[in-house]
């Protein structure tokens, strides 16, 4: 069979010929092994963190470490007792409100910059991305001074405004690429059919780019949820977010591995879950246009 296929001109069935000709050599085996090693290297610390979170402090310190143990929720209880609750609420609030604001502001901006481009569109786009070029560390002092002056330190709305500003450029760029995939003919058809601009956006454009909006929103959620630098510098007890809580935990209870793991697992959980449930839509959104 293999011999006859080898003789067939490649034009008839190039893919099959290609598939049959490739014998499992040393290269693929090595590559596969490497892929597994890298994957496990990335995944193992996370797995170990989650496992440790379910251990008792004693079990966490066993040497050599045990893979089988009787799981307990004791550490999670301890984390909530230590007061992660308000921090979680702050994180949820700052993430949700800033993401909503970003989407509300970025959608019309991206529409204007893609489907109704004007002479200076390129400059505007560059301006947006240029705001991401300055390291946040370099900007933190003036930001701190301003925030202090307007008496907005340790205020959740300060974080919301900053997170919105931080995510807006990325969102505009992402959404613009989604808008560019909308065929211009559709807008023309809608206008001939008698739809106003608002109706066209709502009824024609938004349903098409909804996976893109979803993907953009998720990226904003992840960035806002994980943000640490603004939070640690501008908030304290009132408006602190989960990453801030976590750092405080390391210093005060640094020796309690299991409890720290539980806190870290809690912090990572919402983003991981959101990513997990949304992975289809996320891939669809991020590869929008590539798979028409």
């Amino acid at each position: 069979m293999a011999a006859t296929i080898e003789d067939t001109p490649t034009t008839t069935a190039p893919q099959r010929v290609e598939g049959r000709r490739r014998r499992p050599g040393v290269g693929p085996v090595l590559l596969t092994t490497l892929a597994w090693v890298v994957a496990i290297g990335f995944f193992f610390p996370v797995l170990w963190m989650v496992l440790t979170a379910f251990k008792s402090e004693n079990a966490a310190y066993t040497d050599p470490p045990t893979l089988f143990f009787s799981p307990t929720l004791e550490q999670f209880r301890a984390v909530f007792d230590a007061g992660i609750g308000p921090y979680l609420a702050n994180s949820v609030g700052a993430t949700a409100i800033s993401t909503a604001l970003v989407l509300v502001l970025a959608t019309p901006a991206a529409f204007a910059l893609s489907l109704r481009p004007v002479e200076k569109t390129q400059d505007v786009l560059f301006f947006f991305i240029s705001t991401k070029m300055l390291p946040v560390v370099a900007a933190i002092v003036p930001i701190y001074v301003v925030v202090n002056e307007i008496r907005a330190l340790d205020n959740i709305w300060t974080l919301i405004v900053l997170y919105t500003a931080m995510n807006l450029p990325i969102a505009v760029w992402m959404m613009r690429s989604f808008f560019l995939e909308v065929p211009g003919e559709l807008l023309e058809a809608a206008s001939i059919d008698g739809a106003s601009l608002g109706r066209t956006l709502r009824e024609v454009v938004l349903p098409i780019i909804s996976p893109g909006i979803f993907a953009t929103g998720l990226i904003c959620v992840i960035f806002a949820w994980n943000e640490f630098f603004f939070a640690v510098n501008l908030t304290a007890a009132n408006a602190g977010t989960v990453p801030v809580f976590l750092v405080g935990f390391i210093t005060s209870e640094g020796l309690y591995w299991a409890r720290l793991s539980a806190a870290a697992t809690l912090a990572a959980l919402p983003v991981v879950l959101a990513g997990w449930f949304a992975q289809n839509k996320l891939v669809q959104g991020l590869s929008f246009g590539a798979v028409k």
């Binding site: 003919e185 559709l186 023309e188 058809a189 206008s191 001939i192 059919d193 739809a195 349903p207 098409i208």
Partner: protein, 361 residues
């Protein structure tokens, strides 16, 4: 139901550059199907989009039923358009797609449903009303696009190469469907295509455009029988008309040692010019099967056998660079490499000015 009038309408993308549509003047009478045809870049689509309100009219005017629409937006022109890629709303079902223009005009739900059902029945789409465009074949999508245009009973239909995404068989079928639908609805229609066969078969009248300028606006048979210039002569007809620059001699021109007489009117119009562009269609050449030696000698390069007829592509025996297309009988016995003798039907010869390409008499 409307009369459409282009009056010296121009579209100039960049000031100073050549206009995409140059002073187009054209009247489409009520209920007429007019085809705009031309090669790519001829301005036919731009002209249609000017009528649709998707391109601005930079000079002159366009009138629908006497009303100047230069400053009227698309949605207020009471037109409907079928796009080349159909432009169906992907998130809406067939029924919702067809109902959309009605919804935008504020018809209530039951009225919309009735009109959509009527149009769907007319187009054979009744069974597909709940499907999304993605689940339809190309031909069905095309019909949905038609349906969306006809539900509203607009003043004017605009069609921008609506058949170009269909396969050849489907195209021929849909072509006649559109023509009969248009006859039944009697709504003025402007139809753009680059395919001269579509233009000839569908149009009540055909406007041939090239380089943004109107070349000729006439019925299909008039375009075929009396093209006003060499461009139209070469563009209309398939295979194309043979167009040769020939030297004048005596009362006509010579081709391969054979005289082709020209009428007195043509000779007067040509004046003292040395050469004229002479055109004759493939069917106006006949193969002299006697082989008596008379006629233009040509060597066959390609034989296209179509069953009921055949087309022979040949070059002249004495001049390889001059090629001719000849219509022969079906099941021809002529083969590649054969030398044939051709006779030109002198009554069917078209003559054009060699420099300007304008028709001589």
């Amino acid at each position: 139901m409307a009369e459409v009038e282009f009056d010296q309408a121009s579209r100039i993308y960049t000031p100073g550059a050549k206009p995409a549509v140059d002073k187009l003047s054209l009247t489409i009478t009520d209920g007429e199907l007019v085809v705009l045809v031309g090669p790519s870049g001829s301005g036919k689509s731009t002209a249609l989009r000017m009528l649709a309100g998707l391109e601005s009219i930079d000079a002159g005017s366009v009138r629908i039923d006497g009303r100047d629409v230069v400053d009227v937006s698309s949605k207020d022109r009471d037109i409907a358009m079928v796009f080349q890629n159909y432009a169906l709303y992907p998130s809406k079902t067939v029924a919702e797609n067809m109902a959309f223009p009605l919804k935008m005009r504020g018809l209530d739900k039951s009225e919309r449903a009735a009109k959509v059902a009527e149009a769907a029945a007319l187009l054979g789409l009744t069974d597909y009303l709940d499907r999304k465009p993605k689940a339809l074949s190309g031909g069905q999508r095309q019909r949905v696009a038609m349906g969306r245009a006809i539900v509203r009973e607009p003043r004017v239909f605009l069609m921008d190469e609506p058949l170009s995404n269909l396969d050849a068989k489907m195209r021929v079928q849909t072509r006649s469907q559109i023509a009969s639908l248009q006859n039944r609805l009697a709504i003025s229609t402007v139809y753009v295509t680059h395919d001269q066969v579509e233009a000839m078969t569908m149009g009540d009248r055909v406007a041939v455009l090239a380089d943004g300028k109107l070349q000729q606006y006439a019925t299909p048979s008039e375009l075929y029988d009396r093209p006003v210039n060499a461009f139209v002569a070469g563009f209309i007809g398939s295979p194309a008309m043979n167009l040769l620059d020939l030297h004048r001699e005596g009362e006509g021109v010579t081709l391969g040692g054979t005289d082709i007489p020209l009428s007195r009117e043509v000779r007067d119009a040509a004046g003292s010019a040395d050469t004229v562009t002479v055109g004759f269609r493939p069917e106006d050449l006949s193969i002299d099967s006697e082989g008596s030696g008379a006629g233009v000698k040509a060597v066959v390069d390609v034989v296209e056998e179509l069953g009921s007829e055949s087309y022979l592509y040949a070059h002249m025996a004495e001049d390889e660079s001059t090629t001719l297309v000849v219509r022969g009988p079906g099941r021809t016995t002529v083969r590649y490499g054969d030398t044939i003798a051709l006779r030109v039907d002198a009554d069917a010869v078209h003559a054009f000015d060699a420099a300007s390409g304008e028709r001589l008499a």
